[in-house]
């Protein structure tokens, strides 16, 4: 499949997730229980993207020793929890990662 066709399909699926409920739902079809479980969607999906990129190396095997990404991610998490600031989280992680690879030579 060419990348353009795939982009269009992904655009369609993204649009449909936004449109379907607005188009189909009659007011009270979503009860509080469904709403509560759906509120965990970010916590269920984002770690599945984050963890492998931090804990695995380029070949896909576990890399737990001398891995600057783990320490940088921990620093970013702590800064994030304390500051509640998206930018501070991203940049504290990037800067500590750069310190490890450029200054300390990991």
């Amino acid at each position: 499949m060419s990348s353009w066709i795939l982009i269009i399909y992904c655009g369609l699926i993204t649009f449909l997730t936004r449109f379907s409920m607005i188009a189909l739902l009659k007011k009270e079809m979503f009860n509080n229980r469904v709403r509560e479980v759906l509120s965990y969607v970010p916590s269920a999906i984002f770690p599945a993207i984050i963890f492998p990129l931090v804990f695995l190396d380029n070949s896909g095997s576990l890399d737990l020793q001398n891995n600057p990404k783990i320490i940088a991610a921990i620093i970013a998490t702590i800064i994030g929890i304390l500051s509640k600031n998206i930018l501070a989280t991203i940049f504290s992680g990037l800067i500590s990662y750069w310190m490890f690879i450029f200054l300390l030579g990991y």
Binding site: I8, G11, S20, M21, I22, V37, V41, P47, A48, G80
Partner: protein, 232 residues
């Protein structure tokens, strides 16, 4: 100044502070796309056609890892499933709109626009209140396109050695950081992350994102069920 335009402007001003983190996010997306081998047209095409930060980054990540089209599509769908909730929450305010407006509003329904307009829609009784969501969404759209383009320009100058792909997990981490404070969220996060990491090589077709998400969402279902039983 007519009423619709006033509400539209209110949407723009309300969403503006939330645009600050979107700027680096858009630039990071543009930079990554170029680094992973996409050209200017396909990169802009993603931002215009998909118009969803998390989905576009997943797309890049899985596409460059050689995942199949079906896996990319279902992962994008899984990441977007939170929009079902947004739509469900907003539908009571939008159910009287014409189909054309429902389509326009849906295209612009991103996290930031939802966050500010949901509050406005709950309070306002104005018949044209949906213009708030239109204003907020259009603002996000404009910022997203401009920053994608800036990223494309930067991406062709920045050296690969900077390891900017590490910005992907950091961006998602930043979106998740508030959830680390709550116990159930923390458990769900650990389950999802562990399944994805350990299953990365075992789960076929790079489907680790969806498998981890579904299993941990099921865990969230069980845990919240347990919690509500305890409270009764």
């Amino acid at each position: 100044m007519n009423n619709k335009f006033k509400i539209f402007l209110k949407g723009i001003t309300d969403v503006s502070p939330l645009m600050i983190p979107v700027v680096p996010f858009g630039i990071i997306f543009g930079v990554l796309a170029i680094e992973l081998g996409f050209n200017t047209y396909t990169t802009m095409g993603m931002s215009i056609i998909i118009f969803g930060g998390a989905s576009q980054i997943i797309f890049l990540q899985l596409f460059s890892a050689g995942a199949s089209s079906l896996v990319i599509l279902s992962s994008v769908g899984a990441v977007n499933s939170r929009h079902l909730l947004y739509g469900a929450v907003l539908s009571e305010h939008l159910s009287d709109l014409k189909l054309t407006w429902k389509i326009i509003i849906s295209y612009f329904l991103v996290d930031q626009a939802f966050a500010v307009s949901n509050n406005y829609l709950k309070k306002s009784k104005d018949i044209n209140k949906y213009f708030h969501l239109f204003g907020a969404g259009a603002t996000c759209w404009t910022i997203w396109q401009i920053t994608t383009f800036l990223g494309i320009i930067l991406g062709s100058v920045l050296p690969e050695k900077l390891g900017l792909t590490f910005a992907i997990p950091l961006t998602f981490l930043a979106l998740l950081v508030n959830d680390f404070r709550r116990l159930i969220n923390l458990i769900v996060i650990i389950i999802s992350g562990s399944i994805a990491t350990l299953g990365y090589q075992i789960i076929p077709f790079k489907a680790y994102v969806i498998v981890a998400a579904l299993v941990s969402l099921f865990a969230a279902f069980i845990l919240t069920e347990f919690k509500s039983m305890k409270n009764e």
